[in-house]
């Protein structure tokens, strides 16, 4: 696994956790303070995954587009990376 794929794997895992935490907050207590902290963190993680997948060299089109989908970008990238690692 190259450094790029490893970085993307860590970032997409973190993004998945952040979006799940946001959805859990929305579905249960819906606390504005929690959302105010988690929101920007999730936004920054989404951006880093999207930019890394778009600009990284040697990734498939499927991985690049999957990383742009809001909400699903984290889990989609985690799934797509398994195939990247297998074909690499």
């Amino acid at each position: 696994m190259t450094g790029l794929l490893r970085t993307l794997a860590v970032l997409s895992a973190l993004e998945t956790v952040s979006v799940l935490a946001l959805l859990a907050n929305l579905g249960t207590v819906h606390d504005a303070a929690v959302a105010g902290v988690l929101g920007p963190i999730h936004g920054a993680l989404y951006l880093s995954v999207a930019v890394t997948a778009l600009l990284g060299r040697g990734l498939t089109t499927r991985t690049r587009i999957g990383a742009l989908v809001p909400v699903l970008s984290g889990p989609l990238t985690m799934v797509n990376l398994r195939q990247e690692a297998r074909s690499a």
Binding site: L4, A44, L47, A50, V51, R57
Partner: protein
């Protein structure tokens, strides 16, 4: 607290992003090419100079991560993370950082290890120009601050 963060943010922007802009711009002029070039250009091309420029790009590029980190912290302290100019600047900064880490640095490495007739250096020059242009836009955003609730 806000003054301290703002000072750190601006100083880091000048001292860390500035050298990266200069080093990446100069790199294509000094990196080796396989084709023979005559006159002044030949003296200018020197692999050791190119190596130093690549080192500056990488080390200061890593240090430059402090700029968006402190900036995001400052925006959180001031409660303006959802203002338009902050969000746009964050997107542009992410693209610029991605270009530096995923395109410019690897292309420089490639130009040092496997020099070609100059094709990859022209591509590197284009990406570098785009990178510097993004920083100019971000700095202008920081000054004009469109969509700011208070001045």
């Amino acid at each position: 607290m806000e003054s301290l963060l703002l000072s750190l943010h601006v100083v880091a922007g000048i001292l860390f992003v500035g050298p990266v802009a200069v080093a990446t711009s100069l790199f294509p002029r000094h990196a080796p090419v396989t084709a023979t070039v005559g006159g002044a250009q030949q003296i200018e091309r020197n692999i050791n100079t190119a190596r130093v420029l690549h080192r500056i790009t990488r080390i200061y590029g890593v240090l430059a991560i402090a700029v968006p980190v402190v900036g995001l912290l400052l925006a959180t302290v001031q409660g303006r993370t959802s203002e338009v100019w902050v969000v746009v600047a964050m997107v542009l900064t992410a693209i610029a950082g991605g270009l530096l880490a995923l395109q410019i640095a690897p292309l420089q490495q490639q130009a040092l290890t496997t020099p070609d007739d100059g094709t990859q250096l022209r591509r590197l020059g284009m990406v570098t120009g785009l990178f510097n242009l993004l920083w100019v836009v971000v700095v202008v955003l920081m000054i004009v601050r469109p969509g700011s609730s208070y001045v």
